[in-house]
Symmetry: C2
Subunit: 451 residues, 2 copies
């Protein structure tokens, strides 16, 4: 029996303590909890045998740093995760309070259970297990945990971009993704990038009565509809000139692998999404549409009248939240330029259009023919007893692109979440068998790398 197996209930208690801290980065009244969570993580790193730990202070919430560098000549692994969580609203939909972890069946329910405290704790407890059982680690290890991933992660990016020598590593391990299906060991090798915009459209300098002025007055709300339709057609194809120029198609090998993934489209559509049918570019397979094709979505439109009843106003101003997802080999800066130019070109008569970038992250795609990824696939295969699959994710983890670009470090995305973990939603959970197998997988991974 390994150290990890002997200490399962202790690890679960530790995770519960971590989950009890409401470290909600979006709400400023939780600043003290953010610090408590950072301190908690730092003390866990000490306990795991890190010879140096530190809260890196700067703008925003502290970064938690730890290192153990006692294996000269061996590779150095940089573990990344985040200790902040999403707000728990709507509270009344939770079956147990979000910050009172509750185990029901094989799942632990709490805000942050899967995203990302449970997965951060996997990393720490894997290292602790190796250290306690062998007295040392097979490779050099660094940790960099952040406290504002859920609110944009700007400060860690700014920090990493300064290329601090202490972050030098051979590979990063990111545990913040999910497995394709239960029991199926999964490595994510590609992420979409993101540019999130606010489009402000202005017509007259005050709201106008639609009876008196309708037929003569520019309507910014209508203008936004026209711009949105000009940017994306009814088939989901983006009409921004040049937007697809750099889009790299998935390799034949990837396409074949995706086609072999166990998948029930009817269940995905009707049960997981609760939708009537899937939409998107005709003729493009589903995983390619969600993982390897850019998209454009409008998230909300503010302005005018949306209350009860009828108000006949032509609003002076309207603002739309719009985002584009980018894929390899698109670049954020170029995408922004193309989008700006397209918006100006289709901006209707009588209004002005202003496009503001709220946040951005590069897409990333890692070549899986890489010893750090091979070793991860092998470790997970040994623990789960099944061949590891390579997938991509349609979501965005901007730090992966930043590690790649500024540190020259590939990221290995070993994720142990499940598709029904309710991330960002009520009743977030983490599957406890995955928690234990995650610890074993990460420990096994370091052992393989150290051989």
């Amino acid at each position: 029996m390994t150290y990890a197996q002997q200490h399962q209930s202790e690890f679960v208690e530790g995770l519960k303590a971590f989950l009890r801290i409401p470290s909600i980065s979006a709400l400023s009244e939780h600043k003290p909890d953010i610090r408590r969570a950072a301190e908690f993580a730092r003390s866990e790193l000490e306990r795991a045998g890190m010879t140096k730990t530190e809260l890196i202070e700067g703008q925003g919430n502290p970064l938690v740093y730890g290192e153990w560098l006692g294996a000269p000549g061996k590779p150095t692994i940089l573990f990344y995760g985040h200790y902040d969580v999403q707000p728990p609203d709507p509270l009344d939909e939770w079956k147990s309070p979000p910050f009172e972890p509750d185990i029901r069946g094989n799942d632990i329910f709490a805000r942050g259970a899967a995203d990302d405290k449970g997965q951060v704790y996997i990393q720490i407890k894997a290292v602790e297990s190796l250290n306690r059982s062998g007295g040392r680690l097979p490779v050099n290890v660094k940790f960099l945990l952040e406290g504002e991933e859920e609110t944009g992660g700007e400060h860690i990016e700014a920090y990493v971009k300064t290329k601090p020598p202490r972050l030098k590593a051979d590979a990063a391990v990111v545990c913040d993704t999910e497995m394709f299906a239960p029991e199926l060991p999964t490595i994510c090798v590609g992420l979409r990038g993101l540019v999130y915009y606010e489009l402000a459209v202005e017509g007259a300098n005050h709201d106008l009565h639609s009876g008196v002025y309708g037929g003569a007055a520019p309507n910014p709300m209508q203008a936004i509809a026209e711009i949105v339709c000009a940017l994306k057609d009814r088939d989901g194809h983006i009409r921004i000139p040049g937007f697809y120029d750099r889009v790299a198609p998935p390799s034949a090998k990837e396409r074949e692998a995706w086609a072999r993934l166990p998948f029930d489209e009817k269940e995905y559509t009707e049960k997981e999404m609760g939708a009537k049918e899937l939409v998107g570019e005709p003729g493009v397979p589903l995983f390619e549409r969600t993982w390897a094709r850019p998209t454009l979505e409008v998230h909300g439109i503010r302005g005018g009248f949306t209350g009860e009843g009828a108000k006949t106003v032509i609003p002076a101003r309207a603002v739309a939240k719009i985002s584009t997802r980018l894929v390899a080999d698109q670049r954020v800066e170029e995408a922004i330029q193309q989008t700006r130019a397209a918006v100006q070109k289709v901006c209707p008569r009588g209004v002005t259009c202003e496009l503001k970038v709220l946040s951005a992250g590069e897409p990333s795609l890692t070549n899986p023919d890489n010893r750090f990824i091979h070793a991860a696939a092998e470790a997970m295969k040994q623990v789960f007893g099944k061949e590891t699959v390579y997938i991509r994710s349609g979501g965005s983890i901007p730090i992966v692109g930043v590690f790649d670009r500024y540190l020259g470090v590939p990221s290995v995305m070993m994720g142990f979440g499940l598709p029904d973990d309710n991330l960002h939603a009520p009743n977030e959970k983490f599957h406890l068998p995955n928690f234990f197998r995650g610890i074993d997988s990460v420990a096994r991974y370091l052992e393989i790398l150290g051989q």
Copy 2:
């Protein structure tokens, strides 16, 4: 010196008392004020010599009724107006409190000054003046004042549709419009109709993450943009099949008269609207676009995320407020059918679209070759010393269509407001010289009709 001229300051004091009652129909906490305003109007009708007055109770706010029928063989005039007012928000933009009438220069500032208490008071004081000075009226007179014009006016419509014998009349006089320009006596002979819709679009049964599902999930917000663009093109032309089939063009005589109206397009665009340029159907003159052509406007879109910052949500549901203005000879019922059919036809794949009618009113157009309108034009000409112009309005006063359809009574719209009266906005005012000339005009009108 006439009775009206002798009693100017008394009339202004009476108007002030009327304006001090915050009879805001949209806010239920003002129910007692609504009743106070109705009682005030009823007692003013008594004072004006009505032999019978009554608050007609039913659903909603009371109607105020009054009659004087002592001129057998002479025509019967039905005066219409409303004693309720719009909410005064935003309060901090008022220079004097909205329910403390303040006279500055030649204007009286208060909520309801022009819309419509000042104009209702003109009708009452004109009748009072004739009655007090001659002991009788030259024609038979009825009053029907309502208390929920600002919230839809459903109950007066329901009442009039029962064709109560007491409402029998030869013509209605509606004082709730404005003059085309200061000093220019104006009669409005056409109003646009209105159908106000709520368009609800549903995709998945819960909000989805745009990273995970973008490219496969239907987006109701995008769907609304597509529907709006499918219903109206970038030139402001409505694309609902059949929508223009019954649209009657203005007569050559009307067009010529409109072209002669004193009008500065630059001032209208830049000063009155605060817009950069006018939009709408190319080649169609401005007054035709705003008075004699149907329009479609989107007033607001609810759903998704519109707060600070970035949230990558594909909303499960979105709701748009959309209205169409109708012109003669369109019909509400047919327009609704056409719009419903068009929406279903363009409803995008993957979503369901439901169109709900929130309110509706028929358009109206009165032939000015009518003794009741000729007499009004003559009366105003005599009082203002200028030829009366005939215009239309792009707005909607549904009761006019209802009087026409259910009572067979043409409406004479003698309005004494001015374009800069700030209706529905802070610092609403009424021009006192128009108040006095309005009283004289209505009195003169009744005299001419009695000859």
